[in-house]
């Protein structure tokens, strides 16, 4: 019975999904549609369950397949918070009609359930199933752009690539099972460590799992789908897709690397050692460097706002992977910090881009001139969100970058540290370019905007939009102001990976 309690958040999420389906089926054109509110209530109930699970402490269930530790609780909470915010972006979307919002919510909640399961997975098969649940649901959401060829292309590209890389992951799982007779992460690790498995096979398993996970995290060279999918999907879906795939990829990477391919160091709770039979960090360092550098240089050459944000997120994936590579407590805590900042910053960025798209009908940077004039507050918010995302000092994301680059220096990875610094610098230039395009003719000479965007703004500058932006802004501001206590909490959560 106690083991079933561990599944309470997922249970509430499933109940919420059922509630949405029943509600939408029973909808007969009433004036008020209560789906959004009921979903928020369901998600809040699931969040309460996650908090209540904290009292059990670090434990496992279902023969060790399901783990409940600090990281699991943190990620479950983050996933649910993500879903709550996505409902907000959905309410203001013009791209997705109210009629289709119910469907959207069902898929978003399914992906959230997948993320929640993934947070507790201690088994390669369970990780595979959870990842597929996330990627399939998100791919459905990506195709929600009515009548948009780009949206359909985004959905198909994401679906097909997700399936192909999923096969790599599955094949790696099968090989690991064949060699060790287990799919549980800790048991595979024990088998690898005992020396009974050939190092070549360990390397192949690592490569296959890495390919499977790199797709989700948009690591170079598996990043090509990312900007396309974000560009084609409707804005609420872009935000959800960008955040959920990052969460899923980072979480799976952390679990697999710390449980299978890493060993606790002598100073427990400080850092890991790599598996003696196979040094996977050298090839990974190359991918980290390439991801860190490819994202910013892609970003600076993008012509559309969504693609630009997507490219920035690719470079952020490099930072997340840097945390996994460096493998110490501070770096992993910083990775989680970065994910939290990324959640609000990416959702906020896509939300503002959604508003700009609604006004201008496109997100072409060259044609966004004067949007700053029409939407000063929203444009500044967009710049703030992006600066927070890439960690320009003194924005909140900077503390995460500082910790990650510092940890790289601490472990003697100076080249990666230099790549990280270059990434932040070039990313900031890409944001500058975006700002120039937004600013357009905001001149001191009193010239008026060329387009008719000012007339449009009065229709959209509602209290609700500002309130929602404020709700996205506040967590970032608080994370910046109280980065120390937040880091402490994340370190405690990360420490649970050591059984601490």
């Amino acid at each position: 019975m106690k083991e079933l309690m561990y599944l309470a958040p997922e249970g509430f999420l499933l109940l919420t999904i059922m509630g949405v389906i029943i509600g939408e089926l029973g909808y007969r054109g009433e004036r008020i549609r209560t789906t959004g509110l009921s979903v928020i209530l369901g998600l809040l109930a699931a969040l309460v369950q996650v908090v209540l699970l904290g009292k059990y402490g670090a434990s496992s269930a279902f023969s060790g397949t399901f783990r409940l530790d600090g990281v699991a609780i943190a990620f479950k909470s983050i996933s649910i918070v993500l879903a709550i915010y996505v409902i907000g972006t959905l309410q203001f979307s013009r791209e997705i009609s109210p009629r289709r919002r119910g469907e959207f919510l069902v898929f978003a909640l399914t992906a959230t359930t997948g993320l929640s399961i993934l947070a507790s997975s201690n088994d390669l098969f369970l990780i595979y199933v959870a990842l597929q649940l996330v990627s399939m649901s998100t791919a459905m959401i990506a195709g929600f752009g009515t009548g948009s060829v780009l949206s359909a292309e985004a959905a198909i590209k994401y679906q097909v690539l997700g399936a192909v890389t999923g096969f790599f992951f599955l094949f790696g799982t099968a090989l690991a099972f064949g060699a060790t007779g287990a799919t549980q992460l800790d048991l595979i690790h024990e088998a690898f460590r005992s020396g009974g498995v050939s190092p070549l096979l360990v390397s192949v398993v690592w490569i296959l799992l890495f390919i499977g996970l790199s797709f989700h995290l948009a690591v170079f060279p598996f990043h090509t789908w990312f900007a396309d999918a974000l560009d084609g999907a409707p804005a609420p879906a872009s935000g959800f897709l960008a955040v959920s795939t990052r969460l899923a990829g980072a979480l799976a990477f952390v679990r697999i690397v710390t449980e299978i391919f890493g060993e606790q160091g002598t100073a427990i709770g400080v850092q890991w050692r790599i598996l003696e039979s196979f040094d996977w960090t050298k090839p990974l360092a190359g991918f980290v460097a390439l991801t860190l550098l490819s994202g910013p240089f892609l970003a600076i050459s993008q012509g559309r706002a969504r693609r630009l944000v997507g490219a920035l997120a690719i470079s952020e994936a490099g930072f997340l992977l840097l945390g996994v590579l460096v493998l110490d407590l501070n770096a992993l805590a910083a990775t989680f910090f970065s994910l939290i900042i990324g959640l609000f910053a990416l959702l906020g960025s896509f939300f503002v881009i959604q508003l700009l798209c609604d006004d201008a009908g496109h997100d072409d940077l060259r044609r966004l001139k004067d949007e700053f004039q029409a939407r000063v507050f929203e444009s500044l918010m967009l710049i703030f969100f992006l600066c927070a995302l890439i960690g320009i000092p003194p924005m909140p994301g900077f503390f995460a970058k500082f910790s990650l680059i510092g940890a790289a220096i601490d472990r003697g990875r100076y080249f990666l540290a230099a790549c990280g610094i270059i990434a932040i610098t070039v990313n900031s230039l890409a944001i500058t370019r975006l700002f120039f395009n937004l600013m357009g003719h905001f001149a001191a000479d009193g010239s008026t905007p060329a387009s008719g965007v000012v007339a449009i703004k009065s229709r959209r500058n509602g209290f609700g939009v500002r309130l929602f932006l404020f709700a996205l802004l506040m967590p970032l501001v608080l994370a910046g102001l109280f980065s120390d206590p937040l880091f402490r909490i994340l370190r405690v959560a990360t420490n649970s990976l050591f059984g601490g």
């Binding site: 501070n330 507050f377 000092p393 510092g406 220096i409 100076y414 000479d445 980065s483 370190r491």
Partner: protein
Amino acid sequence: MNNSLISLMLLLPFAGAVLQAASTFPSRRGRGSDRTENDPERDLFRWVAFASSFSSAICGLILLFQMKAGAADPQHIETFSWVGAYSISYALAIDGMSAPVVLLISIVFPILVAAEWLRPRGRQGIHGLLLLVQSSLIGAVCAQDLFLLFFFWSLSAFPIYFLIGIWGGDGREVAAFRSFVSSSMGNALFFGAMLLVYYSSEPRSFLIADLAGRVPPSWGFELLGIKVAVTELSFFLMAMGLVFRAPIWPFHGWFIRSAYQAPASVLVAIVVMGIPVSSLIFMRLSLMLFPQVFSAAATGVVAVGVVNIVMGGLCALAQRELRPLLGYLGLGQLGMLLLGVASPDPAGLVGVVYQQLVSGLALTGLGLLIGIIVERANLDSFGDIKGAEKVTRLGGLAHQAPAAALVAAVACASLLGVPGLGGFISQSLLMIGGYAVNPWAVFVAVVAMIFTAITLLGMYRHAFLGELTPATQSFSDLFSRERLFLIPLVFALVLFGVYPKPMVDLIRPTVAKLMKGGSP
């Protein structure tokens, strides 16, 4: 015991900036930028901007007057832990070295706010961003924690980018972009230096006083087969980081372009950030964190300074427009500072600190005056440009505007080191300090200064003396408001020229202690 007045000095402009930002929100009377010129709410916000800047300046002056002369240690300390996990502290203080720059910021920024009093469009924005620059520069100058210093120093780059990009001239986009590219590169290199210093010190700390001497000179690593000492690499990264944020030849392109495009008040803010503040940070960190490396690199630093003086002087000689001329004068002034920074004689360092104050004041006066001239005459060329008509240049301004001519004369004279003005004291000390070790450098600098003298005197002759041109026929003299904010600058330049003792007494103990190898 913590002195909260120093935090108040830092936070008041920030609070003012937040209030200016709040004014852009829609109210019952409409969005801030939509309101008319005579709207009392707009009037209120400019008074709020001035009050926050001025009250911060008052806090700064109170702190300076309360400083104990003869004390080398930092005073008015306020410190508490900020990010405990990384030993990052919020630690602010003023010592003899930072006091003159605090005074400079306190004098200059309320004046800049006043100079933008009548801007017809986006006034709240420009006031808010100038206040943010004031706050961040105070933070960078007073920070006793390396992380806090970097925090404020990098923060100062953002408002400048917006200030040029929004309120600049026709080429503002390129100027702002180049300025931001340069400052981003500078910040990135500085960040790298900071991380290296932090992670190579044991026990780890960001407090500058704690870091002094804590990085073992022998500590290093291999990069591509070459043995690299951390102190050398950190010093190089820190110095290059500041080079990109200061007008140093050949990385000065962004500065000159900003001088062309930025409004006068913004140009002055850039000058204060790029010359006195950046040189102070360089001096403080070099002497405290890398004394041995700095001593070894002293000749190189002097050489960079001399090149800056020579190139600044030669380029200024070729200018026929006021704004780029001011930019190249800035190059020369920074070169002078570098000449003294590397001097092992305390007189040289005292001269540097004094020069930071007086050259900042003189360039502010000249910069604001150029802004007024450009605004009224709608041109800034003072010399005969080949092929151009006489109508396109300034001339005989002293007939029409004697008060403006007086301000320009005092500022130029101070920059040239005329006795009785602040520049004379600082440049004399610099030369005395520099001559002891690098007489050749002083000789070259003096020769190069002759170019600057020819340029400034030529500019004054063409623009202020001589005959009136069609462009200056209807030029009006300084208004009362303009006199009100330019007079304090002239007064300060004269005061620091005739009575330097209090300031020199404040600077000397800190500098002397620093040169003996102890942190102040």
